[in-house]
Assembly symmetry: C2
């Protein structure tokens, strides 16, 4: 990106090291499962709390359903179980046999009905919907859950594709098709708002091809983005389930005319993968860069005063600044640890991606100035202490916007329109990125292209790029008629 020559810079390996070095997460002894470290959990809690607020505000209520789903329940929706069948953690026994010689599974404790650790919770939640829904008065149900789930990954990728991850999963039931459909799109738009404005990552809105859609859905809407290494990442999905689960779980309600009808469902989710996304979009060679909205620490104050007698003046000043920061609900830290040098601290907060650093030294104190450093552009300025109030709030907003614009630049740089199959193959082998090409809509071509290039159709975008207005065209692979361009990309 900026011509750095370090090996692996901006690669998955670099991303991986950065995640560990910055105390976000690390690998565990179990393949595909990670350990969230304190800073990673702090970032997640910022995301969680802000999104949760929006979900509650839009009428959703939080529930917590069991971790384990009986296989008999999961079986009910055939497409659903087929889709998840290759990545299930299956609980089959419930006791160990401990003897002097060995510790083994107690064969007598075999379960009559096997249990699956939830890969998603439709199958257990629709079982409750059946009990809860009788009349149109019970609808809509708008429910949300924060849960840990397991999807056994063959090729796990730290934070981007883990076997265990934390999921926000919404599940709703509606009396009409139109209402359910609107709700799935409403939630997709809410995610778009959230990811673009809070995490500062621009996303492409679209829907999945039938091959790529959620197992059990009628339509899967999605938000996609591109990472620093040119690979695509699915950021959020919202599924219109039609009456599939209502049918499979035999859910019906008495409508206002006294006739039984099947209700309509949606489900939608985001996960801790978003932490991976923000690290792999916004970071640079110095470390993370966190958008102010979700940075656990938005501002760090570091003193570079050396004389002990100046410390008191410093503490007094910081106290004063602190009052203002607190009143404005800004998250800050005053790092006055004596065992570390200012330089060490600068590196530390650079690595952690703290958006703004305030440095105060003797010279500054005497002149009524403080030094402000913005992490995203790595620029220092001196401002008058009396102007701090206005400057800080404007600066944080500006960083948030500039980070979005920089990521938008990245996305645009990685976006291309290609009409020649060899060129597509070449591009996917070299730079990667998001490639808009025509597709005939057949699973056959989709499969063949994937075999040739390892790229998937990450989505059928809602709107194609403005400059390429022609909707009709010919499939890049089969040359058959194509209704619109879709996006090909290698993805995590």
């Amino acid at each position: 990106m900026n011509g750095k020559n370090k090996t692996n810079y901006l690669s998955y390996k670099w991303f991986n090291d950065l995640i560990c070095k910055s105390n976000v997460a690390e690998r565990s002894q179990i393949r595909g499962c990670l350990i969230f470290k304190p800073y990673g959990l702090d970032i997640w809690n910022q995301i969680k709390n802000k999104l949760n607020y929006l979900l509650i505000k839009t009428g959703h209520e939080n529930y917590y359903f069991p971790l384990l789903i009986p296989l008999t329940s999961l079986k009910k929706e055939y497409n659903h179980i087929q889709g998840f069948s290759q990545e299930c953690a299956i609980v089959t026994h419930r006791r160990l046999k401990v003897t002097n010689k060995a510790i083994l599974i107690d064969r007598h404790s075999k379960l009559k009905h096997e249990l699956i650790i939830r890969p998603t919770s439709e199958a257990i939640i629709w079982n409750s919907f059946k009990k809860w829904i009788n009349s149109y008065r019970d609808l809509p149900i708008l429910l949300n859950q924060w849960s840990n789930i397991i999807r056994w990954e063959m090729r796990p990728r730290l934070l981007l594709r883990n076997s265990e991850f934390i999921l926000q999963e919404g599940h709703t039931v509606h009396s009409s098709k139109q209402e359910a459909l609107s709700h799935s799109i409403k939630m997709l738009n809410l995610y778009k708002y959230f990811i673009e404005n809070i995490i500062s990552i621009p996303v492409i809105k679209g829907k999945k091809t039938p091959t790529e859609q959620f197992a059990g859905a009628k339509t899967t809407y999605c938000l996609e983005s591109v990472l620093l290494d040119g690979k695509a990442l699915q950021m959020a999905t919202a599924h219109f389930l039609g009456q599939n689960f209502a049918q499979s779980f035999d859910v019906k309600y008495l409508n206002q005319k006294g006739i039984y009808e099947r209700p309509w469902g949606t489900s939608w989710g985001i996960s801790t993968r978003l932490i991976g996304a923000l690290v792999f979009t916004h970071s640079d060679e110095y470390g993370l860069i966190l958008p102010p909205q979700i940075a656990p620490i938005q501002i760090v104050i570091i003193s570079i005063i050396t004389k002990r007698e100046d410390n008191k003046i410093m503490d007094k000043l910081v106290n004063k600044i602190g009052v203002f920061l607190k009143t404005n609900h800004l998250r800050f830290v005053y790092d006055n640890r004596k065992q570390y040098t200012p330089g060490w601290k600068f590196n530390e907060y650079d690595l952690k991606g703290v958006p703004v650093r305030i440095t105060i030294g003797k010279k500054e104190l005497q002149q009524g100035l403080i030094e402000i450093f913005r992490r995203d552009k790595r620029k220092k300025t001196h401002i008058k202490i009396i102007n701090l109030h206005k400057t800080l709030i404007n600066l944080l907003n500006n960083i948030q916007t500039q980070m979005f614009l920089k990521a938008l630049g990245l996305k645009n740089q990685y976006t291309q329109t290609i009409d020649d199959y060899n060129q597509l193959k070449h591009k996917l082998k070299s730079k990667g990125g998001l490639i808009y090409s025509h597709w005939d809509g057949s699973q056959e071509s989709e499969k063949k292209i994937k075999e040739d290039t390892s790229a998937s159709i990450i989505c059928i975008p809602s709107t194609t790029i403005k400059s390429k207005t022609s909707h009709l065209g010919h499939c890049i692979y089969s040359h058959k008629l194509s209704k619109q361009r879709v996006i090909f990309a290698k993805c995590y």
Copy 2:
């Protein structure tokens, strides 16, 4: 308690119904696992956030470790695995085989190393401690985790003894025995403070007998309480692990003299069981009664105005009150739904246990008065609106204290000293409660008494009751010498 003659009143069945009726939780299709409903989760989040604040303040940091623990890791601490061997959920396979005819476990997907869903996380966390600890500079480590765990219960009890529950588990490592021991006791005292002051339940501090202690611990300290039905409930535990896990997981550190030493460990926890405890301690025939400190809604405002033209005056007044409530960080709801009568609402908030209800009618408005109803004592008073500020804050504090005192009365009422074995057996069959009796310290007597009475030694209390100062005595069963009284009780 108050002479009500309803069948089952204050029984486990009554408690069970109340949990469901008040929208706290309900049973799921999986035996021993429950569904947390929105109100239950709201209560839990109050508990979680307040306790988390105290844990962070005392220097602990939050981590999240994987859900699954390799059996090979769990095996390392022999006593630990032996203790949990009868209640493990064991994952043995990772794929299903979906054919036209049936959906079965794919036998080829059998795991080489079986995984256990965490019943507690020592075995996975100590594996990381081994990697993280090298020198005395790495110590102490003070970490905390909020996690869902599975302990397969043979006789599950809704919210009191579930197979899946949410756990707060602290894990620490120290360089000296004294420091680890002090830390486990410090955390026990923190729990005592929290449970008595925030949840308003008095607890007895003590330690477990070797039979009852945590599998893998040297000493298990505990807090115990008694429920409305006279059964005891373990509220919190703190374990001094000695060097057991350090030994089993081969954790060592270089001390200041450059010599390798084994560190010392602690672990301690509370769980969603606390919600069960507070419901089964504070409720009455009208529903829950929540201590103000953890009530999701502390104050509900209900208008009993009938004329539409008065509504505006009402809204204006509520707005004014609202500003004051918000400024004081009080959690309140103004219920102005038109489709429900005031009477219906009164019952609803009684059931939910909202500590304070403010009712405003026309008469009150004209006289500048409002009616205040306190849920715990079910008493109404009229106060002048201008005195609302002071009154409300005092009232909430008073309710918190009075609830504690009432629970203390319950505990005292259920506490007895008995020296005759037949009397002990009789008492445990009839009223139950906490019975202070002498015990010779042998596992044999402990086991025999349990067989005869189904009661356990719930703890060896730190301090015996003042009025019974004589420490020495004779075991109620064997008549052998006893060093002090212990507490016998039937428990959940």
